[in-house]
């Protein structure tokens, strides 16, 4: 069947945004969104690993019997993350320093196994790669926005640049992380509801306009 990439793209970033809609990968989201820089770093690392693990999983999906799918997927993901960590440490030390902290965290990130289990194990390679890419992008965008908000409110700075020294310690704390995350999901659902309603109305108006104009012609 033709995989329409537009649907996967919209799903990945908006309709099924892993952080805001499916609420997966909450551990790193809560822990790391104290700084916007972390959001980007973590997001890119996860995107990179997500794409490759989706490709690997969908390549092997027929070879892995369903009884042992979880250990097999987890093994693939863990191996892949370790390889990335070793390669980065050797050849790109500065990138490793900025990402170094997040790479072990990725192994424990639920988004990757969730996508491997629910999408990559059922779809061809190209679709899985696209899904990995857009899921990763959705994850990065959500994390960076949350990181920015928490950094501005919690530390009075953005990307490390000091804006003002008015700081609300609540947002830097973990309870604040929960709170910010809740507000983000609420706003996201609100906007998404409004958009989907208008889209349905427009589609319907288009459909009825077509049928009515067609009856007048007869």
């Amino acid at each position: 069947m033709k995989t329409n990439f537009k649907k996967i793209a919209v799903d990945g970033v908006v309709k099924q945004n892993p952080t805001l809609k499916l609420v997966l990968g909450t551990c790193p989201t809560l822990a790391l969104t104290t700084l916007a820089m972390n959001g980007i770093g973590m997001g890119l690392a996860v995107t990179f690993v997500l794409i490759c693990s989706n490709v690997l999983v969908s390549l092997l999906r027929k070879a892995i019997p369903s009884q042992v799918r979880i250990p097999a997927f987890v093994l693939i993901i863990a191996t892949f993350v370790t390889i990335v960590r070793l390669v980065l440490e050797k050849f790109m030390p500065d990138l490793y320093d900025s990402l170094g902290l997040y790479l072990p965290l990725i192994v424990v990130n639920c988004v990757i196994l969730a996508r491997a289990e629910s999408f990559a194990s059922k779809n061809p390679v190209l679709a899985s790669a696209a899904d990995g890419l857009f899921m990763g992008l959705g994850f990065t965008v959500a994390l960076t926005l949350m990181g920015a908000v928490r950094e501005i409110l919690g530390a009075g700075a953005i990307f490390g640049v000091k804006l003002w020294d008015f700081q609300i310690a609540f947002f830097a704390s973990s309870a604040g992380a929960f709170f910010t995350y809740a507000i983000f999901i609420a706003i996201f659902c609100l906007i998404e509801n409004i958009i989907s309603k208008n889209k349905k109305r427009k589609e319907f108006a288009l459909a009825t306009a077509y049928t009515s104009s067609n009856t007048e012609v007869k």
């Binding site: 009884q67 191996t79 390669v87 830097a172």
Partner: protein, 207 residues
């Protein structure tokens, strides 16, 4: 013949294959891509001086990785230990001393390792010139420690304090010493402060 189609064989072979490939690949790669301590040191030097700096043997005072017994024991103090001490661009009396210091009692008992560069003139320590992070162990909240935490050590207004015996501390109540707190990661900041305190103890300390 049916054994090969049975679920037993397929499951075991699949898991075995993936496990073997990943185990083997990882071991080989970890040996191949092993970053040796020397390489780490040269990277740190590159970061401090902008270009990798060769340190000749006699300029190495302490180096835990070196096989020379007299130099391989780190200098420990109650703040942590100095693992490497190098003399760099020595011309006559004035030179730089670069320390790899490991501060103790961080978060969950972990440690933080910093590179600290101190400028010396006619054999007298003048000022802490640069501090960069080398690595941290079990400090999960490192993201909270930004650049200004490290630059704080090199500011001029603290230079007089640590020269006459004051040390860096994280808790606000201890007014006797120089305050250098970080909100949200007090333990890790504590380990960072301890690392620099080792250097201060060595340069301006009692010995």
């Amino acid at each position: 013949m049916s054994f090969f189609k049975s679920i037993w064989f397929r499951c075991i072979s699949c898991l075995l294959a993936i496990a073997l490939i990943s185990g083997g690949l990882l071991t080989i790669l970890s040996n191949l891509l092993y970053v040796s301590p020397e390489e780490r040191t040269s990277r740190a030097m590159a970061k401090i001086y902008g270009a990798p700096v060769e340190v000749s043997a006699e300029n190495i005072i302490v180096d835990i990785d070196s096989d020379d017994a007299s130099k391989s024991s780190p200098i420990t103090s109650n703040y942590g230990e100095l693992q490497k001490i190098y003399k760099v661009n020595v011309n006559g009396e004035s030179f730089d001393m670069v320390f790899q210091a490991q501060g103790n009692n961080g978060y969950k008992g972990g440690t933080i390792t910093l590179w600290v560069k101190v400028v010396f003139e006619n054999n007298l320590p003048i000022k802490i010139d640069k501090v960069i992070l080398q690595s941290s162990d079990k400090q999960t909240l490192m993201s909270k420690i930004g650049g200004d935490f490290y630059n704080r050590f090199t500011l001029d207004d603290v230079t007089e304090d640590y020269k006459n015996g004051k040390v860096f501390t994280g808790n606000q109540k201890d007014t006797a010493n120089i305050l250098n707190p970080v909100s949200g990661a007090t333990y890790s900041a504590n380990a960072g402060n301890n690392a620099v305190n080792c250097v201060i103890d060595y340069c301006w300390g009692t010995n």
